[in-house]
C-alpha cells in the first residue's frame, strides 16, 4: 500500500479533525477516489485511539452510572419499544389463542357433558323400556303359555261357565282378549272374535282355538285405529274365518 505523500500529513490532521475549509475539502475529495488513503485513515484513527488510551487512569464517580441508567430509562428506545410491542402483540396473540383454546375446550366439555347426560337419559329410558318390555313379554308369556294354569273363580257350587275378557284401547286399536271354559269346537271350525262398533258392520278381531282346558288368547289382532267399540262378540266360523259373522254369537260382551 502506498499513501500519496502529498496527502500523508494532511490525513493525520484530517483524522484529528484539525483541517478546515479548502484543505479539508481537498482531502475528502481525494479519499473518495483513493482506497489506499481511506485505509490509511482508518489506521490513523487506530493510532489516535492508542493516544487516547494514554489518558487512562481515573474512574468515573459511581453517580455517573446511576445517572446513565436513569437517562436510558427515559429514552424512547425505538428498538426496545418496538420489540416490546412485538412481544406484547405476540403475547396478546398467544393469550388470544390460549383463550380460544380454553373456550373451545369448555364448549367441548359442555357439549360432552350434554351428550353424556343425553346418553344417560337415553340409557335410562332404554332401561325402563326394556324393563317394561320384559314385563310385557313375561305377562304375555304367562297369558299365552300352554303350561300356565288357569283358574276361573265363580260362585260356589256353580258349574263353570264360558268366559271371555276383552281389553281394548280404541286410540291405538290395541286389543287383548282372554277366554276360558270355552266348549270344544267342531272339526274344521274356529272361533272368531268380532269388534262391534258403535256404528257400522262388525269388524273381524281374530281367529282362535281354545286349548284342552278351554282357554284361549288373542293378542293385538290387526284392527283399525280410532274405532269406538260398542261391544265384542264371538261366533263359530269356518276354519279359515269369515269377513262377516255367519252364525249367531255364542258370547257377547258387556262393558264393565
Amino acid at each position: 500500500m502506498s499513501v500519496h505523500e502529498q496527502f500523508a500529513d494532511d490525513l493525520s490532521l484530517y483524522a484529528l479533525g484539525a483541517l478546515q475549509g479548502e484543505e479539508r475539502l481537498s482531502v475528502e475529495k481525494h479519499l473518495k477516489d483513493c482506497s489506499d488513503c481511506r485505509h490509511e485513515l482508518v489506521r490513523l484513527q487506530g493510532d489516535l485511539a492508542l493516544l487516547a488510551f494514554s489518558a487512562g487512569g481515573p474512574r468515573p464517580p459511581a453517580r455517573s452510572r446511576e445517572r446513565l441508567i436513569a437517562a436510558i430509562a427515559r429514552e424512547p428506545r425505538r428498538t426496545a419499544v418496538h420489540l416490546m410491542k412485538r412481544k406484547r402483540w405476540w403475547i396478546a396473540l398467544q393469550w388470544a389463542a390460549a383463550a380460544a383454546t380454553v373456550t373451545v375446550i369448555l364448549l367441548l366439555l359442555r357439549q360432552n357433558t350434554d351428550l353424556r347426560q343425553h346418553v344417560a337419559s337415553l340409557d335410562a329410558n332404554f332401561t325402563g323400556q326394556r324393563e317394561q318390555l320384559l314385563q310385557a313379554k313375561e305377562l304375555i308369556a304367562t297369558l299365552t303359555s300352554a303350561d300356565a294354569v288357569h283358574f276361573t273363580l265363580v260362585a260356589a257350587k256353580a258349574p263353570p261357565q264360558p268366559q271371555g275378557k276383552a281389553i281394548y284401547l280404541p286410540s291405538t286399536g290395541t286389543l287383548v282378549f282372554l277366554a276360558s271354559n270355552l266348549p270344544e269346537l267342531p272339526p274344521q271350525k274356529t272361533y272368531e272374535l268380532w269388534l262391534i262398533p258403535t256404528s257400522g258392520a262388525p269388524i273381524p278381531a281374530g281367529l282362535f282355538r281354545p286349548d284342552t282346558h278351554g282357554s284361549a288368547t288373542v293378542i293385538k289382532p290387526p284392527l283399525p285405529t280410532g274405532v269406538e267399540a260398542k261391544t265384542f262378540a264371538i261366533t263359530v266360523e269356518p276354519e279359515s274365518g269369515s269377513a262377516a259373522p255367519t252364525s249367531t254369537p255364542i258370547m257377547v260382551g258387556i262393558e264393565g
Partner: protein, 182 residues
C-alpha cells in the same frame, strides 16, 4: 492483533447487538467495561470532572441511541469510544456543536485494542512510547489530540513552522503504531 482475529465475534459485538435490541443490562455491562476509558479521555481534554461526566453521559447515551453505527465485528469498541469521546470533548471545549453524529465519524478502528485497552501493560507501553518521543513531537501530538488545537494554532503557539508541526504529528502517530505493530 490481526484483522482476521477481529473478525471473530467478540463479547463486545454481542453486547452491542444486545444494545441494539434495547437490552439495558448489556448497556450497563458495556459501561462497566469502558466507562473508565471514556471518562479518562474526557477528563484529560476538559480538565474538569463535571464536564467529563457530562461527556461520559453523552457518549454512552449516543451509543444507546445509535448502536447501529458501530460494527463491533470490524474493529475496536474501546478505540472507537475513545476517539468519539475525544472529539465530543473537543467540541465541548470549543463550545461548538458536535460536527457529526458519532455514527458518521468512524466506521472501524484497527487494530483491535480490546485486549490491549484493558491491560495496564499496554497502557505502560503507550506511555513509554510517548515518553520516548522527542518532547516537541509528543507536545505537538498531545496539543493536537487532547487540546484540540489545529496545526496552525500549534505552530502559532510554539513558533514552529506549520510544515514541521504537521510532520511531527504524523511521525508521532506512526511511532505509536509501530510500537504495537513492529
Amino acid at each position: 492483533m490481526s484483522r482476521a482475529a477481529s473478525n471473530v465475534v467478540s463479547p463486545d459485538a454481542m453486547l452491542v447487538s444486545a444494545i441494539r435490541s434495547g437490552d439495558e443490562q448489556a448497556m450497563v455491562l458495556l459501561y462497566e467495561r469502558y466507562s473508565s476509558i471514556v471518562y479518562s479521555v474526557a477528563l484529560r481534554v476538559l480538565g474538569e470532572t463535571g464536564a467529563a461526566e457530562d461527556i461520559l453521559q453523552e457518549v454512552f447515551l449516543q451509543l444507546w441511541r445509535s448502536a447501529d453505527g458501530f460494527d463491533a465485528t470490524r474493529g475496536s469498541l474501546p478505540g472507537w469510544l475513545a476517539v468519539i469521546t475525544r472529539n465530543r470533548a473537543i467540541d465541548s471545549l470549543r463550545k461548538r456543536r458536535p460536527e457529526a453524529d458519532i455514527t458518521d465519524v468512524i466506521g472501524s478502528i484497527e487494530p483491535d485494542f480490546v485486549g490491549a485497552a484493558e491491560s495496564s501493560r499496554a497502557l505502560e507501553k503507550i506511555r513509554g512510547t510517548l515518553g520516548g518521543m522527542p518532547p516537541p513531537q509528543r507536545a505537538a501530538l498531545e496539543m493536537a489530540f487532547f487540546d484540540g488545537l489545529t496545526h496552525t494554532e500549534i505552530a502559532e503557539k510554539t513558533g514552529e513552522p506549520l510544515g514541521t508541526i504537521k510532520t511531527r504529528i504524523r511521525a508521532g502517530l506512526l511511532t505509536l503504531r509501530k510500537a504495537f505493530n513492529p
